[in-house]
């Protein structure tokens, strides 16, 4: 028997009632997804397409209008399913009067970490998100990047099998986002399943194994990143020291074999790559 998928969503529909008249707003429309274990899975789509709503239904925070959801083979919205799941909500906000370490400790107790293991679990989680020095400061003084990272720490303090991250890099600078990307990769290396949702496509492309793209509550594409992005009918050659004569000769040779040269351009690096080459770190933590 093969293990159940990390998350299974079948024909999920969610309507919100908005305004005084209770007009229906369909946030998620007949969505079916099966998220395999041990991978980083990206849920993509524009703002308001229903990503967060889907995740909230998966966690049982919002009841579904129709359809079924299971986590690790368990019906979602059960305490057992949630004990094996960690969640970082969108634009997280925590009790300001707690220090980072107190917050993570609080969450460890709520997540069922045995009392004698709480301290070591807290230190491990805080170290993983690289906040060991700032962990004694009040959460109210944290920058956005630090809030996301302490949010990540509280989500993983009980060592869950499945980690669900809603826009973990929103509002975080590229260096901080790359750090979060590395944390996600570290979790994959430990065999965790990570589901993240985002509209920052460049980031997702780098960390995700599979992606699903949603639009207006519907699923429009799903597949492994490599397969989805590769254009198997086209090829790119990267050439150094190309002279006009060499180019003409190469084009002639290609034509002789029935191929056709489409375009000759210079490769570009992304602004993000450039930024990360030039800037070494933020002052957070």
């Amino acid at each position: 028997m093969t293990a159940a998928p990390a998350i299974e969503v079948r024909h999920l529909t969610k309507d919100f009632r908005v305004g005084l008249k209770g007009v229906k707003l369909r946030a998620v429309d007949d969505l079916s997804l099966s998220i395999p274990r041990g991978q980083v899975y990206g849920l993509l789509g524009p703002n308001g397409c229903g990503k967060s709503t889907t995740l909230k239904v998966v966690l049982g925070l919002v009841p579904a209008t129709a359809g079924e959801v299971s986590i690790l083979g368990l019906p979602s919205a059960t305490a057992e399913a949630r004990a094996r799941t960690g969640f970082l909500p969108e634009a997280p906000y925590f009790h300001k009067f707690l220090s980072g370490r107190e917050l993570v400790r609080y969450c460890a107790h709520l997540s069922g970490v045995p009392s004698d293991r709480v301290e070591s679990a807290v230190e491990e989680a805080v170290a993983l998100v690289d906040l060991r020095e700032a962990a004694g400061r009040l959460v109210g003084t944290y920058s956005k990047g630090m809030l996301q990272r302490i949010g990540l720490a509280q989500a993983i303090v009980h060592d869950p099998e499945l980690v669900i991250l809603d826009e973990p890099t929103a509002g975080v600078d590229p260096v901080g986002a790359a750090a979060i990307g590395r944390i996600i990769e570290a979790m994959r290396a430990r065999g965790k399943t990570v589901v993240l949702c985002s509209h920052l496509l460049g980031q997702v492309e780098q960390v995700c194994d599979r992606v699903a793209i949603m639009d207006k509550g519907r699923l429009v594409l799903e597949g492994a990143v490599e397969e989805v992005l590769e254009r198997r009918d086209r090829h790119v050659l990267t050439v150094d020291a190309l002279t006009p004569a060499a180019l003409a000769a190469a084009e002639a040779a290609l034509v002789a074999h029935g191929a056709r040269l489409g375009a000759v351009t210079h490769p570009r690096r992304s602004l993000e790559e450039l930024f990360r080459e030039l800037v070494t770190g933020s002052r957070d933590a």
């Binding site: 925070l61 305490a79 949630r82 969640f87 107790h109 709520l110 997540s111 509280q154």
Partner: protein, 277 residues
Amino acid sequence: MKAACHRSLWIARITFLEAIRQRFFAFLFILGAALVLASGAVRVFDFGHSELKFLADFGFGGLFLFGSILGVVMTAQLFFAEIDNRTALTLLAKPLSRAEFLAGKFLGIWAVLGVFVLVLAALLAAMLGWRAAELAQLAADRRLAPPECDLAGLALYAALQWLRLGVVVAMVLAVAAAARTFLFAVVVGALAVLAGQLQWLSQELLLKPAEPGLGQAALWLLTHLLPNLQQFNLGDALVLAPHQVAAGTLPWVFLSGVAYVVAFLVLATFLFRRREI
């Protein structure tokens, strides 16, 4: 069960920390304490009962009024702080049931009100004890009987008020669990407390002969569903005339108070169960 209690107590602990940081709490706390202390400056000069009664009534009134306001407003505030700031989103995504969450909120707020009641009652006890001793001395000089004042009765009164506030908190939590806004929860919660306090009025009305109709049905619901909060106000009888409380009254008041707390928490959980977070 042990794990559930552990989680509830953690919610209670953080709720307590949040509550005692509130300016609103500090304000009413100081106001209540000031009222009790200020009442000590009053002199009636009849060397007895009426002066102690004045002192006690001032203290009972402060405890009752500020305790009620704190109970209603703080409960609604601390509940909606979790919902509106979306901290509830983080917490309820954990293996924490909604019943545990509400139980934790209840315990945290009730603990803060316990501190409030304890401090005010201790201040009142100090004032009463001091004046009663002075008055007893004066009465002895004139060969009069000393005025009665029972401080153990005051402790019992404080416990009853704490229990009454527990009923208030549980009731407001049930309202807040179904309410969309903080203001609605405060207004409806305050009305419910007021109606509970005026139970004896509706009970008397119900006993009068009247046409059976909608008004009568509403009255019946009001008297049977809302707790009788007035029954906790035994201050005068307990402190100033300690032998007047009928034997079965106290156990009954305690038991019904605990039953109302449990019933309202169950109702709150039921209303909160499918709420979108």
